[in-house]
């Protein structure tokens, strides 16, 4: 099965700081999804990457998929308290439409 490793497991930053979360797979990623979860709530879709080298941005959040399609990074510029939550990466298994998920990265942003 495809294992997705996220790092770090948790992150505490001061408001205004930049940060990066990584998602690494032992196999080629077919569709890499990033989600955000506010504590105690459901997941909100952020973006999806499919092509090697692809990069997408949403407001101050940028995600990139490496050329080999085995690692993705999510970068937040000038973090704000509203960025706090759990960030999860998900990826489809081969040709399946069903994603598996990493264990998540918990982000706290201190004002």
């Amino acid at each position: 099965s495809q294992e997705l490793e996220q790092s770090p497991q948790s992150l505490i930053v001061q408001e205004g700081k930049n940060l990066t979360i990584n998602c690494t797979s032992s196999k080629t990623l077919y569709g890499l999804y990033w989600y955000k979860q506010k504590y105690g709530e459901g997941l909100i879709f952020l973006m999806m990457l499919q092509k090697g080298g692809e990069e997408k941005s949403h407001e101050k959040i940028t995600a990139k998929l490496d050329e080999k399609k085995q690692q993705s990074s999510l970068h937040i510029t000038a973090s704000q308290p509203s960025h706090a939550g759990i960030y999860l990466c998900g990826a489809r298994k081969g040709g399946s439409y069903i994603p598996t998920f990493g264990r998540g990265t918990s982000l706290i942003v201190h004002p």
Binding site: G31, Y33, F45, R92, P99, G102
Partner: protein, 114 residues
Amino acid sequence: DVKVTQSSRYLVKRTGEKVFLECVQDMDHENMFWYRQDPGLGLRLIYFSYDVKMKEKGDIPEGYSVSREKKERFSLILESASTNQTSMYLCASSVPTSGHHEQYFGPGTRLTVT
């Protein structure tokens, strides 16, 4: 906007009770999913359905069953609740559009079994 709703945000049940968790989506999505989320274990797929009356086991189906009688509704059933089923349960739906399968999640049901 896609909306996925779950019948309860919080639920407390006793060991041995039969528990129904309901999920409804309003965007005519073919695919629906049930996950549980536990600290340190992430999201684990219990069951999914790709059409009415169709269901497939996920990674951890033991102790659970599902029902999909209508396209918009997907129910998760705990036949005899046990304390190790205390968890956050998340429902999701998706539709294959242009190869994309991003999922839309409900707000979750936090179930406590005592």
